[in-house]
């Protein structure tokens, strides 16, 4: 309740900047499609992983050969059938969504305007202050929550331009058919098993991002942030217009 009252106050006071939506329609729609398909990928990815929860480096690996990491999960076969069906369906939805989002981000200057941090904001002292404020769970001021800070921008850029491409490429590198056409894709990652291992760690990084992302949404006011990502406006817009 406190959050809503807080944001309602923000909406009225900051009415000028609230005339244009906090998030554009394309960002909002692609955000929620990605949310659903990410959970599809995560659940099905776990279903596939538990059939053989050991990670290797190089081209090959299996029971009886040295592993890189033995995950503390029992071997559970029998889930990778539906797991693979759901994984590739969700992957297609994610990739197609990305094919809408990425050109939009470039053409509409979404990347440049909303995600690229200003050089001055990248000073260590500023970045450290942001992280320190987040760590001691200090709510952003109303002005701060109208835009992303440098740490948020860097995190989003890393997800969009590093983690997403990396998880797609390592996924493709595991495909025997794709590897026959682009052998460099597989050998570039160090082999099929290396690609599988990197795929796993990028997935872990994305899950960590998701945890921090949700924590930050809670910190900024869950209802208002979710409302902004659904309607485009965080407060009661009608009061403003």
């Amino acid at each position: 309740m406190a959050e809503i009252a807080y944001l309602a106050g923000l909406a009225i006071r900051g009415s000028d900047s609230l005339d244009s939506p906090r998030h554009s329609a394309v960002v909002r729609i692609t955000h929620w499609i990605t949310t659903v398909s990410f959970f599809g990928l995560l659940v099905s990815g776990i279903a596939i992983l538990i059939a053989h929860p050991r990670l290797y480096w190089g081209e090959t690996g299996g029971v009886g050969t040295p592993s890189l990491i033995d995950l503390p999960i029992p071997f559970m076969i029998g889930h990778s059938g539906w797991g693979r069906y759901l994984h590739f369906l969700s992957a297609w939805i994610s990739v197609l969504t990305g094919l809408v989002y990425a050109p939009f981000g470039l053409l509409s200057h979404h990347f440049g305007k909303n995600l690229l941090p200003a050089r001055a904001d990248l000073a260590w002292s500023r970045v450290a202050r942001i992280v320190w404020n987040d760590l001691r769970w200090r709510r952003p001021t109303e002005e701060e929550s109208l835009t992303y800070n440098a740490v948020q921008r860097l995190a989003y850029l890393a997800v969009v331009f590093v983690l997403f491409p990396l998880i797609i490429l390592t996924g493709l590198a595991m495909s025997p058919a794709i590897a026959s056409v682009v052998p460099l894709l597989r050998s570039g990652f160090g082999g099929q098993q290396s690609a599988r291992t990197i795929h796993f760690f990028v997935a872990v990084a994305l899950v960590l991002f998701l945890c921090v992302h949700i924590a930050m949404v809670c910190l900024a006011g869950f209802a208002g942030r979710v409302r902004a990502m659904i309607t485009g406006y965080s407060g009661a817009r009608k009061e403003c217009s």
Binding site: R84, W92, I178
Partner: protein, 266 residues
């Protein structure tokens, strides 16, 4: 003003929707004609499967070759998934060194034939060192010795209507009178993989002129551009067909009836 705009918007939306729907219809018909629809195209998962299969068949060259490794890359351990058939026929053939075994090839071929192991070994022999991954996640590199499937298909003369090559092993009830009652680890591939020059009918492995029982003796197919599960073991019967709808539940593979996608080029 806003009314006119909204009407224009409505018409535009309608035109886009109609174009989209008819576009999808045309796409579906074209996809079917050019063999871009997998047998397990039903349901919501079928949408993803069809996209994967169609995208790969359009974008991946049919002639692209799987990487050939050197003999020094061969894995020390070649894990085995599933045990050799336990039925009496198989055990008897195994004990007799498969001298009485015959591979039946029929269906849409000009000359339905039976081949003995000795005959297959007299055909031009090839050796390939391939990487093979299981859908579970593990993988190994092994050398496979055999005759290209395309060589045998040319011998029996494949008819132009052929769309699939179906493999039945001893672990299927391949002698079932009605193909719809067939169960087990039968599988099928499209003609792109059937004619692919690395697709092998393998009777030997890792320098030896025979397959260990667990690896599919006397004969297995090796399809290097798909996951290992497609490489059916213990072959007994190969049939060439224009549809897999009348075999088992019509999904193109016994494994697909148990929930695993038919196309495994992933």
């Amino acid at each position: 003003m806003s009314e006119r705009l909204s009407r224009r918007k409505l018409i535009a939306t309608g035109v886009v929707a109609a174009a989209g729907a008819s576009g999808l219809g045309i796409a579906a018909r074209l996809a079917d004609r050019y063999g871009l629809i997998p047998p397990d195209d039903g349901g919501i998962y079928g949408v993803g499967e069809t996209m994967t299969y169609a995208a790969q068949r359009v974008l991946v060259s049919r002639h692209a070759l799987a990487r050939e490794y050197t003999r020094s890359d061969i894995s020390k351990i070649a894990p085995i998934k599933g045990a050799a058939p336990e039925d009496e026929t198989y055990q008897r053939l195994l004990a007799g060194g498969f001298r009485d075994w015959r591979l039946k090839i029929d269906g849409l071929v000009a000359r339905p034939s039976f081949f003995s192991l000795a005959e297959l070994k007299r055909f031009p022999s090839e050796s390939h060192v391939f990487h093979q991954a299981c859908e579970e996640g593990w993988s190994f590199i092994a050398e496979w010795i055999g005759v290209p499937l395309s060589y045998v298909l040319n011998l029996v003369g494949v008819r132009p209507q052929a769309k699939y090559v179906v493999f039945f092993g001893f672990d299927t009830n391949f002698e079932a009178a009605d193909k719809q009652t067939i169960k087990g680890k039968w599988n099928s591939i499209d003609m792109a993989d059937a004619w692919h020059r690395q697709t092998l009918l393998a009777y030997g492995m890792n320098g030896q002129e025979f397959l260990p029982a667990g690896h599919g003796a006397p004969l297995r197919v090796r399809i290097p551009r798909q996951l290992g599960g497609k490489s059916t073991k213990y072959l007994s019967w190969i049939t060439v067909t224009d549809t897999v709808k009348d075999i088992g539940k019509g999904f193109g593979a016994g494994g697909t009836e148990r929930g695993f996608s038919w196309y495994a080029g992933i």
